[in-house]
């Protein structure tokens, strides 16, 4: 018997409504109600970044985001990066660099990279490394991920929008 709250939000540019448990996390909500399984549950404690989403322009760990607090907010998940124009520059760069192995960290890496590039399109390698400190990858050794974020910055420059 858990208290339910009605919320409405903009999710990947679409207005949606949901009834959420008062102790539910945004991550649980995305997976349960919207079948958005990009954001991953790995640590559930804010340590790994696999669940990263962007809320009102700021990246955050959806495992530690109270679902009730999404009311009235603008939420972007990795699924929202794909548009009719195709994949996002960050996604394309991850493909180009082969920056994915098991893929568990990838949606979180991509969302954090998207956040970093939104704030600074001309990001340096040091800033990328620093900006990804909250994202853990057990497979790649990070080199290709860092190269991919740099690549994304170049792709964006070449093709505005």
């Amino acid at each position: 018997m858990s208290l339910k709250i009605e919320i409405s939000l903009v999710l990947n540019e679409t207005k949606v409504e949901a009834s959420v448990g008062v102790t539910e996390s945004a991550l649980e909500l995305l997976r349960r109600e919207f079948d958005l399984c990009g954001a991953k549950l790995a640590c559930g404690e804010g340590e790994c970044g696999a669940c990263t989403i962007i809320v009102d322009g700021r990246s955050r760990n959806s495992c530690l985001t109270p679902a009730v607090d999404l009311d009235g907010r603008d939420v972007m998940t990795v699924e929202g990066l794909w548009t009719e124009k195709g994949v996002d520059a960050v996604q394309q760069a991850f493909i180009n660099e082969g920056a994915v192995q098991c893929g568990y960290c990838t949606p979180g890496m991509i969302m954090q990279a998207r956040y970093l590039l939104n704030r600074n399109p001309d990001i340096s390698e040091a800033e990328i490394i620093r900006g990804l400190e909250g994202n853990v990858c057990r497979c790649t050794g990070y080199k290709k991920i860092i190269a991919a974020v740099k690549g994304a910055s170049r792709i964006q420059e070449g093709s505005p929008g």
Binding site: S2, L3, L64, P66, V68, D71, G131, E133
Partner: protein, 292 residues
């Protein structure tokens, strides 16, 4: 004291407060738990070490609790101000660069974007990083409740134990306030933990004062994670104040400090290690002062 209703919480009411007044009303009967960024509260939710009332009071839409303002030589940081906002604030970068420096050592982007100053204080972890510089700056906490006048309390006297403060169950932290430091202000923050940035401090230290010709005056020496609350080493401060920092003073200060902190051995580090790091931090920073 918060009500002792342990997680998994039985929350029977939710209030999405849109004004300070509304939040204080929702907290008035002592059964409310404020929600700020949730980075502590939601992490405690599943591992059973949190305490929560039956009414969740969301503070996130109370604009008056947000932001940094400077007035008459005083800085006021709203309780709901995020660590990212501290890191990015131009005013602070100029006048109290110590605070953005501490913010820079705090967690990851994803956590900094939500973690609030008020939450860091109210959670009362002995390892709360942001508390250290605020104590060193002689900050006051502004506390409000329904039907009583707002009160101010020195932050150094706010904590009574791990997770324990003088805050009543009906009270809310609304801001921290401190004086802009002097021109020759010197402030450093050191911290160590298992992983850069995303680390709960094993030892954290903040040393501040007015520095001129290798002499530190009006110093503040505050440690985190080496005691049940933050520790102000007032005896060590008196020893350092106004004295030429030479080898003898450094040695004396290290021993005196070691007597003022009370580190424990736990799963994260041993008492020996914590003491060793605390000595290393202080030695290193006193030597820096000597050369300035």
């Amino acid at each position: 004291m918060l009500p002792q209703n342990r997680f998994p919480p039985v929350i029977t009411e939710y209030v999405n407060a849109t004004s300070l007044e509304m939040a204080l009303e929702a907290l008035a009967d002592g059964n409310g738990t404020p929600l700020a960024g949730g980075s502590d509260l939601w992490a405690q939710k599943d591992n059973g070490d949190g305490r929560i009332g039956s009414r969740l009071v969301n503070l996130n839409r109370i604009d008056e609790l947000r932001g940094i303002s400077v007035n008459n030589g005083f800085v006021r940081i709203g309780a709901l101000t995020s660590i990212s906002e501290i890191l990015e604030n131009q005013e602070l970068a100029g006048s109290v660069a110590l605070l953005p420096k501490v913010a820079d050592r705090f967690a990851s982007d994803q956590i900094r974007n939500v973690a609030t100053v008020g939450g860091n204080i109210a959670n009362a972890s002995p390892a709360a990083d942001f508390v250290l510089p605020l104590v060193a700056l002689d900050s006051e906490v502004e506390i409000c409740s329904n039907g009583r006048d707002p009160r101010k309390q020195a932050l150094s006297e706010f904590f009574t134990g791990p997770g324990k403060t003088i805050l009543g169950a009906d009270e809310l932290i609304t801001a921290v306030i401190f004086k802009i430091p002097q021109k020759n202000f010197h402030g450093v923050f050191c911290k160590t933990g298992p992983r850069p940035a995303l680390e709960i401090s094993l030892v954290a230290m903040c040393l501040t004062g007015e520095l001129h010709n290798g002499i530190l005056d009006n110093s503040r020496l505050v440690f985190g994670a080496v005691g049940p609350t933050v520790i102000c080493c007032t005896n060590t401060e008196s020893l350092i104040n106004g004295s030429q920092i030479d080898d003898e003073l450094v040695a004396g200060a290290l021993d005196m400090m070691a007597g003022e902190i009370s580190p424990i051995t736990d799963v994260r580090a041993s008492k020996w290690y914590r003491t060793h790091i605390a000595r290393t931090f202080l030695e290193q920073e006193l030597i820096v002062c000597r050369s300035k």
